[in-house]
Symmetry: C2
Subunit: 464 residues, 2 copies
Amino acid sequence: MSDTPDSAVRTYTEQHRTAFLDDLAEWLRIPSVSAQPEHDKDVRRSAEWLSGKLAETGFPVTEIWETPGAPAVFAEWPSQDPDAPVVLVYGHHDVQPAAREDGWSTDPFEPVIRDGRMYGRGAADDKGQVFFHTLGVRAHLAATGRTTPAVHLKLLIEGEEESGSPHFRALAEERAARLAADAVIVSDTGMWDENTPTVCTGMRGLAECEIELSGPGQDIHSGSFGGAVPNPATALARLVAALHDTEGRVAVPGFYDGVAELTDTERALFAELPFDEETWLRTAASHATAGEAGYSTLERVWARPTAEVNGIGGGYQGAGSKTVIPSSAMVKLSFRLVAGQDPERIQEAVRAWAEARIPAGVRHRITFSPATRPCLTPLDHPALQAVARAMGRAFGKKILFTREGGSGPAADLQDVLGAPVLFLGISVPSDGWHGPDEKVELDLLLKGVETAAHLWSELADALR
Amino acid sequence: MSDTPDSAVRTYTEQHRTAFLDDLAEWLRIPSVSAQPEHDKDVRRSAEWLSGKLAETGFPVTEIWETPGAPAVFAEWPSQDPDAPVVLVYGHHDVQPAAREDGWSTDPFEPVIRDGRMYGRGAADDKGQVFFHTLGVRAHLAATGRTTPAVHLKLLIEGEEESGSPHFRALAEERAARLAADAVIVSDTGMWDENTPTVCTGMRGLAECEIELSGPGQDIHSGSFGGAVPNPATALARLVAALHDTEGRVAVPGFYDGVAELTDTERALFAELPFDEETWLRTAASHATAGEAGYSTLERVWARPTAEVNGIGGGYQGAGSKTVIPSSAMVKLSFRLVAGQDPERIQEAVRAWAEARIPAGVRHRITFSPATRPCLTPLDHPALQAVARAMGRAFGKKILFTREGGSGPAADLQDVLGAPVLFLGISVPSDGWHGPDEKVELDLLLKGVETAAHLWSELADALR
């Protein structure tokens, strides 16, 4: 072969572009909306369609894995090299609800290509990003002349991500032996923008709680009793006000124990991103930045733990006024966590902090929701460097690094499988996830194919 | 006459007791529920019934005064003595809604006498207490041998008190010349308990506001943006937490300016009341007392200004969790005011205090409802002493003093007419105002008649 592997991958990708896009469009036509029971059959049809397509791609093992909810798809393609590292790709085949009247220019489940973009529900989140792995592995084989991938390749594509992945952790635990891997590739995120290819190095975790304080047995008259009994809404406000110190740090004792601090290298790489605060504020629909002293906005949302009020309520909230001392008041708090923080210890710390602050005569109830762990792969991890190299070969540009401020089931895979999680996503902020006119940029989608094609060789070298 | 005036009043009252109770029962049968439009005709019928009964009692002037809502009744009985002081009696002829299924033992609008009590909606609040003035003035004339009262007597009985007196202030202002008086007697309160006759010396005022803080233009994702933009719910909690200092005092600068402090005499008299904190806490449905340092519970609810949260709300309040930074959050605050505090100045102080505390990037809207002034008649005011003497003659007991922590339209009369407001009420806490099985104690009702009979002579002496 006179081609370099990079040009061979590009040529193969271009040659199969039309069929690849036709196939993706076919998949997008299946309205696999996991949140709407009337689409249960479509979610199952989507799983079966993908399973068939993976078999057609060459995966010798394809299985539908049942859960108490929607089915997941598992596929496996062993490497002929018995020492090859094992890599698991994660994605999801369910999509957000969508209807023409939500503001779509065309039918959300009848994909169309306009101006180099494919529009349709799931084009970016997440079918497009799952699907680039099919042509990717074929291009990998074609360009390297292999008959099996350079890594022992596994795919787990769940069907309930858009419904909060209620059965995912249990599925991962139950199937841990089949899923065992040396690295997990998550293709369900994005990159900085169309011109700035980036690799995400981690996601924040999440601990959520609801605190209810109660005072009088019922709402009582603020004229007859005001000024002489504890007001639970006031007590709650004092608790929330005590959540942060004057430097914007979370004031719960022990909250920062073990927090993985940003390295100078990562801060410097974040600073290279073309971040414009005015633009970001518009995205946040906000009028000012705020937060922990000593950190930039990106550092605050990506790499620092937080405490936020998600909701607060108590007493009379209707029109006009009602002069009562409320019987109770509640606040919903969420704590975003970063690597080094343990959700269970955070929950204990929050409980102890709150209980120490509740005044006499006020009763409390603190409820925690199941927590999501943070995940982070250090910048110098060989697998992360392999992902960056694969992406760099596809894009022909310097690859920068981001993190994700949100939380997701990927961290469960890190936790259950004990493997580093690496994010490979080619979606961009303008792709409109969860909104109308969701799309994927075709150029970037094909860069995803190329990255995936390079990735198995890179990872095989890096993890050997 | 060999009778003393006191025994003459008692004899006259006893002689007319049956007819008096029959008349009251007839009035209670009219369901004059001002809050329910289907009873508009009944409220009017109640006004007409009362007007007729006052004419029958001997009032030479009786008028129905229209308002944009329900009609009020005005009556006037000039004294033959041209120098007699002018006294205005305030009460209301409308009642709270009531239905058998709310827990009434009998039809709320078919009064019955059981165990020395008359049960029926309005028996105590306020028809019974308005009505004792009819037999009262007759007994006054009979016992003193007068043909006209010792004071120039006016009555204003409104029809919208249970709907918040929306047109009362305007009515009082419009008719100020007709209502002009040297003293106002409000018969729409109560006394400490069955065995402890008391006179109320004042009511707290009320300033209410709603503060809305807004941050992001819509609810935004706490993963993507958490920790980096101002959270309006957190800002609101900090504002509310700053409302009081650690001594339980309201921390709004200028809030206590001009506050009429309790005198040692009034504190000592309050302390003579048979107050049981355990019982009071049960009434308040609360588990502990709390409030401004240095004051007893009764002092806190009667004589000290307060700030209370009546309602608070923002963000997600449904089941489970939703990881958003709320777009906005609001709190409804009410400030009870005492004599010496000016509602308009308090509103300005609250606005300035709040605005100084709102962080960058958070917008605010502060809305005040129409305020109610406080009213207070000093213990040594001759008219107040006259009321206490009249009550002492009827009850044959030492009269103690209370205040009312709530707020009411009586203060408008003090403000518009520039006359001291005096409270003469014989209702007791067990009378069940606004609840099922409202009743009036017949013995106390007749003591009310006797007090009213003595009052005009006492006031004529005191105010001359």
